[in-house]
Subunit: 305 residues, 2 copies
């Protein structure tokens, strides 16, 4: 059974919208894989290295979408996704029938369903395909890509996604990619609480936090967060690998979805309160590991020295 | 500087008290390493394979302690530790001056300090050396051993501990081993909440939990708990690797220590409430992954099918 529409191999022309930290690295990987890439970003100043690597520039979202076989979007918040994908000047309105849209933003499952439906009406395939793996994963092409949408659309997208990530799993119908990414964030949220509470306890008990990591890092307490973010917190490095304000956005999307499904997630609700406190204390642009600050602030040492 | 007392090499006679799941495997590993081991347990019925492997049996704690160069204890709750170590018929009262006591139970830091002090008065070295790594780590001799006590005592114990574990870290003065183990449990507690909330969300969103694990297991959400206990929960296996009632004991010791230090640990406090709910629902003898049950019970499906 030959696919009605060609798979998104390197012959495909790619429209790429969103050149944040993640988007830039991903566009570069598509260029390296041989794709003809036309980029657009709200702030085209960010496009420098991508243009230098051979991308064409488009003056608008519509222009980037119009000539593309595949349109990849990775923007900021759900409101941006709605604007860029569903707005009158957006991707769905201007992409060619028969083309394929892949939204890689972490966003709302219901919005992904809405996009897939609007695209279908115009004869366009659409996938939600958020990623994890951070700036390093985007740079090295080792992202985990969680895909929701029709199986045929997933099959079309697969060659292109393989230029961006190493773990590429079709999770189900539209919205399933977003749901899976929310699972990822739900797991991380409480893991972070545990790791940073462990750090706070270690310090207050007079232990050497590095020695504690040597004892507990490789066992049942072990996690990516413990191995990677605990050491940064120990050594006062709260620089962003992932921004607090983006994580808080994801946590809130997950809480809203959970509420819609009648689901109580007390750990996630606690994370929401703690990260809101961190934002209130001026931490929106810190890395997520800065959670240790609000825990410490809530428990000032009894005898400060 | 030659040590005043010989190191605990295979020439040492070991008194071993406590033959639970962990203790039995550890005693066997000491026998394999060439130690002469005399065992005592509250229920000597558990001693079968250890006696078959060459251990001698002692009829009482005092008898096991009296003839030993090193006394190893691994019992259940802090009350047991107090009784076995500090009671009138206990180890400290009956061990030889110059001997070495190693309590490997997960217990209270303050109690470890008390034991070390009582031992010191009698000319005995004492270490707190709780472990992590579970039944498998005990069996394979790959435990992580977290040690509190005097450096000289740690140096004496090291050869013997090397027969039991592969990660052996001196964490500081008496009580530091216990504090480190509590850090381990604090980290695990909230990690477990995150993992099981992720599972609950995945199920309720209609995802395939195994596919979700394939997407999130190797990235920033990754943890020992996610790789090892999430699959058991997915497939309905709530059998104990580690008992709920023992974990709840550890959580409560950590919360009490935290309170003493003026420390608020909201994630750990949440874990305490959830695990108490699990015990109230009859789950005391399940494995810790059974936490998913209380989360599910708190959020019954809106439209049960």
């Amino acid at each position: 059974m030959a696919p009605a529409v060609p798979a998104a191999g390197p012959a495909a022309r790619v429209g790429f919208i969103g050149l944040g930290v993640m988007g830039r690295s991903m566009a570069l990987n598509l260029l390296r894989a041989g794709y003809a890439v036309t980029v657009h970003s709200r702030t085209m100043a960010k496009a420098g290295d991508v243009l230098a690597a051979g991308a064409a520039a488009a003056g608008s979202v519509a222009a980037a979408a119009r000539s593309a076989d595949v349109v990849v979007t990775i923007v900021g918040f759900p409101a941006d996704v709605r604007d860029v994908l569903l707005g009158p000047d957006g991707v769905v309105a201007h992409a060619r029938p028969g083309s394929l849209i892949i939204d890689m933003t972490t966003s709302e499952p219901a919005l992904a369903v809405e996009i897939a439906e609007a695209a279908r009406v115009r004869g366009i395939d659409a996938l939600d395909a958020p990623v994890s793996g951070g700036d390093v994963g985007a740079r090295n092409g080792t992202l985990s890509i969680m895909v929701g949408g029709a199986p045929e659309a997933f099959a079309r997208a697969r060659p292109l996604l393989a230029a961006l990530g190493t773990t590429i799993v079709h999770q189900g119908p539209p919205g399933s990619g977003q749901h899976t990414k929310l699972c990822n964030q739900i797991v991380i949220a409480s893991t972070m609480i545990g790791v940073m509470e462990g750090l706070l306890y270690a310090r207050r008990a007079g232990l050497d936090p590095d020695a504690v990591l040597a004892s507990i890092g490789a066992g049942a307490a072990g996690s990516w967060t413990l191995s990677n973010l605990y050491p940064r917190a120990v050594h006062g490095d709260d620089a962003p690998g992932f921004y607090v304000r983006h994580f808080l956005k994801d946590i809130r999307i997950a809480l809203a979805e959970a509420e819609r499904m009648g689901l109580r997630l007390p750990g996630l609700a606690l994370a929401e309160r703690l990260y809101q406190d961190l934002v209130d204390q001026g931490g929106a642009l810190l890395g997520t590991q800065a959670l240790h600050r609000v825990l410490e602030a809530a428990s000032p040492p009894a005898n400060p020295r």
